[in-house]
């Protein structure tokens, strides 16, 4: 019984942590960067319908690819060097999960 409670608690915490990560990433995605991601990208989960860059729903980039694009820039996309590594990771993980690239 105690073991089962612990398992449930861990599962709850993990689930909670997961949700918390996504809310930070989502917030950064929609309005936390300059310019913000949603101006150029489409990502249904974030209500973003930008048309300049690739649609993330279609591209389904994994977190590493997103992080690399944010850090270094790619094609027309500038490097977002003002973001902390933690913020970059939060956006990257969120995008990867929102598009189904990561579960």
């Amino acid at each position: 019984m105690r073991l089962r409670c612990a398992v449930l608690l861990i599962a709850f915490l993990a689930g909670h942590a997961h949700a918390a990560d996504d809310s930070v990433g989502k917030q950064l995605f929609t309005k936390g960067t300059t310019p913000h991601c949603a101006i150029c990208h489409t990502l249904q989960d974030a209500g973003a319908a930008g048309q300049v860059g690739p649609s993330l729903d279609e591209l389904k980039p994994d977190a590493e690819r997103v992080a690399k694009a944010i850090r270094n820039g790619i094609s027309q996309m500038p490097a977002f060097s003002d973001l902390t590594e933690q913020q970059v990771q939060a956006i990257a993980q969120y995008v990867a999960r929102a598009t189904g690239a990561a579960k």
Partner: protein, 407 residues
């Protein structure tokens, strides 16, 4: 040729051929038994986006809604690439289609001349006329063949076509406005795309500068392959810079300026630069401008399955960039030995591509087939193009070789 402005007819043709295909296959069970590979690949095919729904879906590979290439097997051998098979690469979403409702009213601002002014398409049509065949080729065509796997659309050979344009020579327009002002070294074109709010326009605006000499043969074109330039290809008015890669041929051109320096728009300053893999583009690296001598084989195509042993016509296309095509050689052994191919079809000038054919008898086996063009100045298509961060201008014959099974 089907009219891009007549989607109704295209739909009819498409549904007609679908019905024929269904009738020909007979039963689904049989189709599954016969073409497991084709069916397995089918779910990956993306539909054409609405703004180019008039394209021939069976001839195209849709990478993204703004990057769509012609299948190698769909070029045909009629030299000119039909509009409904021509590739699409838009750096920004196309402006609203309402801009082609009254094409003659579209206005381009001409600057950097002694008497700068705005000119409508109707006015341009009174100034002069020329017709030109050019190879339109995306700067990144062939990117997928670079070993460093650069980011960006994984184009194979189909981000290219040979197209006929009609319009007024830029040279004539400049003369009509008193000539190019002193000290100008570049011709800078600006696209009329709508820019998103909340972002520095310079980061996304489609504005390109090319060396002033490129104006000599450049056109402001309102017609493509006998019809008004389709909206998706830059209508009502597109700047055509013959011999220069696609991005320099500004769609929906709203400003044409002769300038003392290159634009500082990101698309010129940091993008479309020949910087080594792993580096960022900057003005210290060469801009992506003139295309190189390049050729490739369209048939037999590996994707068409094994070729039949016996007499085979090895065909393809060859361009000389800014020079005419003089000679094309074909190798059937991966570049160990070469034989001269014949140039076939009309010569539409130095900016058009030439078709080539090598007739040969092949026994069953596997062949690595390559082609190599020599231009009128004696430049030979390179074996390997320099790999670069953006994956631009891949013209190397070795990476463009096809491996064909003959059975």
């Amino acid at each position: 040729m089907k009219s891009p402005t007549d989607p109704g007819r295209r739909r009819l043709l498409t549904s007609g051929s679908a019905a024929l295909a269904a009738a020909g296959i007979g039963s689904v069970t049989r189709a599954v038994a016969q073409t497991p590979a084709a069916l397995a690949a089918a779910p990956q095919a993306k539909p054409l986006p609405a703004y180019v729904s008039w394209k021939d879906a069976g001839s195209m590979i849709v990478h993204t809604p703004t990057t769509i290439e012609t299948k190698r097997t769909a070029f045909g051998t009629s030299l000119i690439t039909p509009a409904d098979r021509l590739y699409i690469r838009n750096n920004l979403p196309a402006p609203d289609v309402s801009i082609v409702a009254n094409r003659d009213a579209w206005t381009v601002a001409v600057d950097g001349v002694r008497k700068p002014r705005n000119l409508t398409v109707a006015e341009l049509k009174t100034l002069g006329l020329d017709t030109l065949a050019t190879v339109l080729q995306c700067s990144g065509n062939g990117r997928s063949y670079f070993p460093s796997k650069p980011s960006g659309t994984k184009w194979t050979v189909g981000a290219a076509g040979c197209v006929i344009w009609s319009g007024v020579p830029v040279r004539v327009v400049a003369e009509a406005l008193g000539g190019v002002a002193g000290g100008m070294q570049f011709m800078t074109g600006t696209g009329g795309e709508t820019l998103p709010a909340g972002i520095d326009p310079k980061t996304v605006i489609v504005e390109r500068s090319v060396p002033l000499k490129a104006m000599e043969d450049a056109l402001l074109a309102w017609e493509m392959n006998g019809e008004p330039v389709p909206h998706a290809h830059g209508g009502p008015l597109r700047l055509i810079v013959p011999g220069y890669s696609g991005v320099n041929n500004i769609k929906y051109i709203k400003r044409l300026a002769f300038t003392a320096s290159e634009t500082d728009a990101a698309i010129q300053r940091t993008n479309y630069r020949m910087s080594p893999p792993g580096t960022k583009g900057s003005p210290s690296f060469p801009a992506v401008w003139e295309m190189d001598a390049k050729s490739w084989i369209n048939s037999p195509a590996p994707e068409a399955g094994p070729a039949r042993a016996g007499w085979v016509q090895v065909t393809g296309v060859a361009l000389g960039g800014v020079n005419a095509v003089r000679r094309v050689e074909v190798s059937l052994d991966g570049g160990k030995s070469w034989r001269d191919a014949s140039l076939v079809g009309p010569n539409l000038g130095r900016y058009a591509w030439r078709q080539f054919v090598l007739q040969t008898q092949l026994k069953p086996g596997t062949y690595v087939m390559a082609s190599r063009v020599t231009d009128s100045q004696g430049n030979v298509q390179v074996e390997t193009s320099p790999d670069n961060a953006g994956g631009y201008l891949n013209s190397g014959w070795r990476s463009h070789a096809v491996t064909v099974v003959v059975a």
